[in-house]
Symmetry: C2
Subunit: 313 residues, 2 copies
């Protein structure tokens, strides 16, 4: 997917899972909407940080994906969200975890990055910080979706059965971008894992696990079995291979997914963007909802191991 | 500090800061007590995971250090603690953040590692999980120390002054060990940052930032300005240099502290243990409270850039 060294690039994912049956068109449309939102920023000369914020916000707004509107439910019926963002220019980073309220958790993560001295804030403290800065909030009705609620009921009913039988949601959305100045950024957001324990924090909130960006190395966003990605510091493990082992985005991404995450018991995927604009999107799940767009190019979207669908610019 | 390839090794820190004036003897005694606690486990054939749990628990119990009894206060006068642990045999990991209650937060982190499907749990959810498993709790009186309370009052009174004028506590305790089977483990625990915002989570809770262990690569525990360690995924950045750039524990540790953390605006230190038993403890702060012991050797402790004090076995 290497085309040219100049111009902007945006790549994103809506989770590594089997394409949602009967919602394939909605998934493509959701990915395209997010690509358009991020591209509009980049086309207008905006930064990579602004572009991944816009793209991930659009994914959060779409009920098909497990983040924001459409977040999964904890075992006790509550919902909580995690998100993070990182600026490859200077390693600035922000993240929130275990929050319920901000309409776009990725914007809360960005607020932590830009307006606090901290990197990760959780729970009530994070919410108080968000309210103080006037971030847009939403209520229980907004975040509720029938599909994710049914997944919880089914998971609880089948407790004790083989885990593979469970229709749990554990996915994530994320985006990486390079702007016209060559700056990289990454952002990730998730509604967590269906039926997990309240208080569980995912890799999505952990810089170096779910999200990483360094202008000189790469930008990465991860999705999948979060605990396995955390145990391997997956996003930074990609960066390490590119920085020190001379691997390409594709080699590094594949090695992390197939040699670490898979044998570690995890399924999922990665979106990796190299400084030269190369994009790699390896996954070991049945599918990964994903897409990319380059300056002057078409929108590319795919749900599984299939040719990309190309849509007007 | 490389002596022999066999036998156990335990190394630990009580934070990277100026040696606490008037408490130097207590600091040495606290470090020695923790070395003894961990050594007793290793001497009895226990695992590296058990040894770092015992050593960090002893550090948490000592009021000199900023963890457990002696934790720092948030801006609102509350306290909260973070801890993590990682088993180099299989990358198992557990962590807690923003909790108040468990007497030994590192034991809560180990509980998450061993008894949950999760890696990181925070706040009320983490506490409910701890209570369910009957972990020992302590109350406000136990965690209160006059010194840390005064630090908060002073910090709040001086708000707006140059940050360097502030006597904030931001330190951490941690340990790494190699057991007789050659297994590595790492654990870290902190009382957080004086006067930080409630809900702030430190690098100590983030696998790959404050703590990392892989039998084939190294075990690492970090201390210092947590946000900077998170932005650089410091613990995994050490591992990456040892795994892919052929660096020694000393080279990798120094490069991360002096080329990433320092220029990134952070002070702190690292304890790094290589699979061959080599220990490196680089720091760019005025001091680092630290110590190590090898099978059959003396207890070594130091507070600043000075010769190690050697104590009976």
């Amino acid at each position: 997917m290497r085309e040219r060294e100049n111009g902007y690039v945006l790549a994103l994912h809506g989770g590594a899972e089997e394409p949602p049956k009967g919602q394939e068109e909605e998934a493509h449309a959701g990915l395209q909407a997010a690509l358009r939102a991020g591209r509009a920023v980049l086309e207008g000369g905006g930064s990579a940080v602004e572009a991944v914020t816009a793209a991930v916000s659009a994914l959060e707004d779409c009920h098909v994906f497990n983040s924001g509107h459409g977040a999964a439910f904890f075992a006790d019926g509550s919902q909580a969200m995690d998100a993070s963002i990182m600026d490859g220019r200077n390693h600035s980073a922000g993240a929130v975890a275990n929050i319920f309220g901000p309409r776009n958790p990725v914007q809360a993560a960005r607020l932590v990055m830009e307006k606090s001295d901290h990197v990760l804030m959780v729970g009530e403290g994070a919410l108080a910080f968000c309210r103080e800065h006037g971030i847009a909030m939403a209520d229980r009705d907004y975040f509720f979706t029938e599909k994710k609620w049914r997944a919880l009921q089914q998971t609880l009913a089948e407790k004790g059965q083989e885990p593979s039988a469970l229709p749990r949601f554990r996915d994530t959305v994320g985006a990486v971008a390079r702007d016209r100045q060559g700056n990289l950024a990454a952002a990730t957001s998730t509604g967590g894992l269906t039926a997990s324990l309240p208080g569980r924090v995912s890799d999505t909130a952990c810089i170096g696990s779910g999200t990483f960006a360094d202008n000189a190395v790469c930008a990465v966003t991860a999705t999948g079995d979060g605990e396995v990605f955390m145990r391997w510091a997956a996003a930074h493990a990609v960066a390490a291979r590119m920085q020190f082992a001379g691997q390409s985005a594709e080699q590094a991404g594949r090695e992390v997914i197939f040699d670490l995450i898979g044998p570690g018991g995890g399924t999922g995927g990665l979106v990796v963007l190299a400084p030269d604009g190369t994009v790699a999107m390896p996954f070991n799940a049945e599918g990964m909802l994903r897409g990319y767009v380059r300056e002057g190019g078409l929108l590319h979207t795919a749900l599984a191991d299939e040719p990309y669908r190309k849509t007007e610019a």
